[in-house]
């Protein structure tokens, strides 16, 4: 007779048999070289080749989901974030067209919520969302083929609460490079010295009756109030890298005159319009897809909500540059500002202060009354 105990044993053994292959690693039907990639937190990116002569590979990535309370502004406002690898946005993952990504998505048992990942660069299965739903204490492995070059966002997409997970920080970018690297649209190669990955995030923090931001004991407790603020579509914060000031002051980005920077900008939920104050976009893939020729000499470009864009720029003049969402209310009042300190020699040909601020000559319109104050 089958006792309850033996039945449970049977289930346990069956579970062991079923999961056994997972411990041995996934079946390798592709027979391609493998490479494990160690991810780097934004605004930086793991080292990678810009162009490659090697054949396709399987690149192994691992994202560990972390739910955690973070501070999002200088006033110390606390916010329950959901993150891939602990950063808002999650890390950028780079591979080449024709490569495969083998992604391990880990949801540690310390988390409270199921999560998954929808990769806009992937084809089928709701971008992987249908095949990666992991509860706390579970992990899943997804393999997908990079068939289109460009920068693409990824984000969490759990049924019923997608927007909440996304605006809580669960988004990042995949960069699929053409195998022979970036081109200017006329077949000439383009090269960058470094990548800055800017992940913009609209945040919706509930306030109490006195207008003060509310804090919550747990992530779950913040859900109802946060959703109410979200439904009004007006963010309380609009930030790069998860908090106001994440990329300014001591955290400002750095570059040198003559250096070429690829600025990748993503917003998983809401439109934004990047602008480099004092600079330009030399080559801009506004929609982020490298099979389209880049636009040249742009002042401001539009990154549509739910996408990533890329801009290549060579610094020509030293100084402090502000990189902003040029809805300046969002840049200055809500936080969407980064600074780039650029070292190098000043070029008078590009700009020169011919006359410093001083009084308007007395005979000209707008001149002050002719009574110089002396003391």
């Amino acid at each position: 007779m089958l006792t309850r105990r033996t039945a449970l044993m049977g289930v346990a053994i069956a579970a062991l048999i079923m999961t056994a292959p997972a411990f041995a690693g996934p079946p390798d039907d592709l027979k391609l070289p493998r490479e494990r990639v160690d991810l780097v937190a934004p605004p930086f990116v793991h080292s990678h080749e810009q162009a490659t002569t090697a054949g396709p590979k399987i690149l192994e990535f691992k994202l560990t989901i972390q739910e955690k309370q973070v501070v999002i502004d200088d006033a110390g406002t606390k916010f329950w974030s959901m993150t891939y690898n602990g950063s808002m946005p999650g890390p950028m993952m780079v591979l080449h067209e024709g490569d495969y990504m083998e992604l391990t998505l880990v949801n540690p048992e310390t988390n409270s919520m199921p999560h998954n990942i929808d990769l806009h660069a992937a084809t089928g299965g709701l971008g992987g969302g249908a095949l990666t739903k992991v509860n706390p204490g579970e992990q899943a492995v997804l393999r997908w083929k990079a068939t289109r070059p460009g920068v693409f966002i990824y984000h969490c997409a759990p049924e019923g609460m997608i927007p909440w997970h996304v605006v809580s920080g669960m988004h990042g970018t995949v960069m699929v490079l053409p195998r022979d690297g970036l081109k200017d649209g006329e077949g000439n190669k383009l090269h960058y010295d470094k990548v800055f990955y800017i992940g913009e995030n609209d945040l919706y923090v509930p306030k109490d009756d006195n207008g003060k931001y509310k804090t919550y004991e747990t992530l779950g407790e913040s859900y109802a109030d946060t959703t109410e603020v979200m439904r009004k579509l007006i963010p309380t914060h609009e930030v790069f890298e998860g908090r106001v000031g994440a990329l300014t002051g001591k955290n400002a980005l750095t570059a040198k005159v003559g250096e070429t920077v690829l600025i990748v900008h993503s917003e998983a939920n809401r439109d934004t319009r990047p602008h480099l104050i004092g600079g330009h976009g030399d080559y801009v893939w506004e929609t982020g897809k490298f099979n389209n020729p880049p636009q040249k000499d742009l002042e401001t470009w539009l990154v549509r909500g739910g996408s990533a864009g890329a801009a290549l720029y060579t610094f020509r003049e030293p100084g402090v540059y502000a990189y902003v969402n040029h809805n300046l209310i969002e840049a200055v009042e809500l936080g969407a500002t980064a600074h780039i300190k650029v070292d190098g020699k000043w070029n008078d040909d590009l700009m020169k202060q011919v006359s410093p601020p001083g009084p308007i000559p007395p005979d000209k319109v707008g001149a002050a009354e002719p009574m110089a104050v002396t003391r």
């Binding site: 200055v332 009084p359 003391r375």
Partner: protein, 286 residues
Amino acid sequence: MLMLMKVKLALVAGALAAPVLTSVLTSAPAHDPDLTLRLSSVTFSYRAAGDFSRNGKPVAGPLRDVRLAADLVIMESLVTAGEYAACADDGACPRVPLPDALDVPIVGVSWHDASAYAAWISQRTGVMYRLPTDEEWTLAAAEKARDEVLPLVDPADPAQAWIARYEAESARSRPNEAAPRPIGTFGTNSNGLLDIGGNVWEWTNSCFIRASLDDGRERITNTNCGVRVVEGAHRTYMTDFIRDPKSGGCATGIPPTNLGFRLVVEPSPSVVSGLARNVTKLLRRT
């Protein structure tokens, strides 16, 4: 050295304004708004506020030995939320958001709000209060006044100083606590003033100036009284209607955490006679 004397100036004026004074004292919270300190006029080192240039090149504001014309009578502590609320309740000060506890400095006030309070408290007490000048504040702040000379921009290569200035401004430490703290939290300076250089910056009456120092002579080429000198853990300049300072966009550095104020007393007749004595002393010395 500085002669220090705690004076209840309101009591001096009490004979004139006794009924009004009684109502002030009963409606006031635990902290005494009228507690002022008298600082005797001495020579002190003062870095002129504003933008200065010599032969078209930016230079640091001149450092001068300064002596006030009279003793300085200044509030020991910042004006509190409770005191400001009384002015707002009277309809004399614009309403601003108040904290739950009213025994902390009022913050989130503009130069206009502070000036309205000074006018109101002067009328109520019969004592003429006003915001201090930057020189007066510096004397009162004593060792807490910061002489921060930022790197100067060389027009031939503006970026070097610009980056250095950015780094200097970014390196300023930010108070750990942004919310205003009870009076006295940030200690007493050598003159007995409370909370100088804490997490509240103070409005002064001094206007922003631009001046040239050519031929050893200071010539003010522009005075903008829409922008006033603000003092605290660092000196800065603020548009007079700003209540909540912030940086962002092109603005760099760490802005004042909060804007509040304390007031000084205009010399009363008895003070004026003291001043006359001082002037006589000074004349004798020179």
